[in-house]
Subunit: 308 residues, 2 copies
């Protein structure tokens, strides 16, 4: 039984990942798209979700690829219409707005899937298994990239709810919370805001796991020498590195795993599984850590950011 | 069976509320105090919680009245020693840090009570009952006071994790989340930070309940003409006002209830009940809304705040 999916929001992430990944997954088919300005060949195109829901027989599921601000309303409408819903990350502009969606999905007997694409990176499960069997001494995250390269023209990321550097940083937190044996909580947060922007361009975070293991994270959007997306754990079984956003795993510098990125294909396989049973998969802990980082954050004002 | 309580942190809230309230509650007794600089006549006094835990036979329960920053560590130590723990509001400096405490309390078979003193105000339960039977059209919160009067010399409230104007504002949110029939979520947040401070002095918030009922909140610490601590709901059954922090309830301007504040006595009666059964009472929704308000907040810089 094929799961027919409609995408809302035909921006960068939808074109780069969702559309080509759906095409590779058996049992999932893209049948409709809602986008204000763009259209896609070969599928039914609409301007808005509301208009698309007027042709509800075209699809069983909706993938929301719009910015987080305003996503609650779209998810509410799609769930109310009895559609399974996939949420791009972050699942909302606030933590509190997601909980009522869970309740609504249960009421309607449909699936809600808050995706964290980095959790589907190939090194995540092996890293979790490694850490489960070792004694962790410390963890250090470096997650640095060039915002001009990765978020060209995306003004919403600089607006409240757009998360700023936490938009990539939350990927690291989604891996961290998946591979550590114990939950962590934030103890220190320093946020660097460009003087002309409402969201941070860099963040330095410290966490504790309640058992004395220090966890530090350094997020920066001003890295122009290439991407650094690494999580390093010092353990009694050696130094573990989840490298390149989770595509590679190293132990004491030796490559243990190096696989291509098929995160979004895995996301759609999982979505099809969930939809078959009306399953709910919503873990808000990465977004909770970001909210806590703003709550506990000390703000530092840095150089204005001008895109070009 | 008397519950013997030890207080940690002998600051303003402990002296104004906890100490005198405990004295009025049957079945609860203050037997020890830990404070860096202060002592109290008639009870055992220690400099630190650790030192006090060396005399653990003096008490079964610990009330943490220190600032939120650093409270997790104290709560962890007290729970680990097998003591019931009461947390002053807010229950932590972050949302995430409280969850592991719940798990620890369960493991130890002791109580954890995250208090929201305003929920024990006399108008709260009647207001909840009124709203449960009426159709709400809109809700408006005004929570304004003079920070110089209510928080003299409390530098921690201006530090990250100290919440600023949300320190009183969270009282309003604790009432709001107790009296509304449906959960709300934040949709807009404007935060005014004094140019020399790390926490806001005013906040303007908008919430939705997912059913189209607008909820607005206006928090301000610059009100010098007297306190305004009101929640007003327009309904088909009339205009409800929870006034004076919950001491009075009015419907269409007619006073329905006007009772003195006995919030903290009620808190300690509830704590004794919980301790008798190892019960857990931890609702983080007020703090979650504050974290969301920082996450989604647009920052505005206002005049420096100098205390005197």
């Amino acid at each position: 039984m094929t799961l027919r999916v409609a995408i809302v929001g035909l921006g960068k992430i939808a074109r780069d990942q969702h559309v080509p990944s759906i095409a590779t997954v058996e049992g999932v088919e893209l049948t409709a798209v809602a986008s204000r300005n763009a259209s896609l060949d070969g599928v039914a195109c609409f301007s808005t979700l509301d208009e698309m829901l007027g042709h509800a027989d075209l699809f069983e599921a909706v993938a929301l690829c719009t910015p987080p601000q305003g996503r609650h309303e779209l998810a509410h409408a799609a769930l109310s219409a009895g559609k399974h819903v996939l949420l791009e990350k972050p699942p909302g502009a606030t933590v509190s707005e997601v909980r009522p969606l869970e309740a609504l999905a249960r009421e309607k007997g449909v699936s809600l899937f808050a995706t964290w694409h980095s959790r589907f990176a190939p090194a995540v499960e092996p890293a979790r298994a490694f850490l489960a069997q070792s004694r962790i001494r410390s963890v250090r995250i470096e997650w640095k990239e060039d915002v001009r390269k990765w978020h060209p023209g995306q003004e919403w990321i600089w607006e409240p709810g757009g998360l700023g550097v936490f938009d990539p940083g939350i990927n690291a937190l989604s891996i961290l919370t998946a591979i550590l044996p114990r939950p962590v909580f934030l103890t220190k947060s320093d946020l660097s805001f460009p003087e002309n922007r409402a969201a941070p361009i860099a963040a330095a975070l410290a966490f504790s796991d309640g058992a004395g293991v220090p966890v530090e994270a350094d997020f920066d959007w001003r890295e122009t020498r290439g991407e650094i997306w690494n999580i390093m754990a010092e353990t009694d079984a050696g130094s573990l590195t989840v490298a390149d956003g989770g595509k590679r795993m190293l132990v004491d510098g030796q490559v243990r795993l190096d696989e291509p990125d098929r995160e979004y294909a895995a996301i759609y396989r999982r979505f099809a599984e969930l939809a078959a049973t009306g399953g709910i998969d919503v873990d808000l802990s990465p977004l909770q850590h970001v909210a806590d980082a703003f709550l506990l954050g000390r703000r530092h004002v840095v150089e204005a950011f001008v895109e070009s």
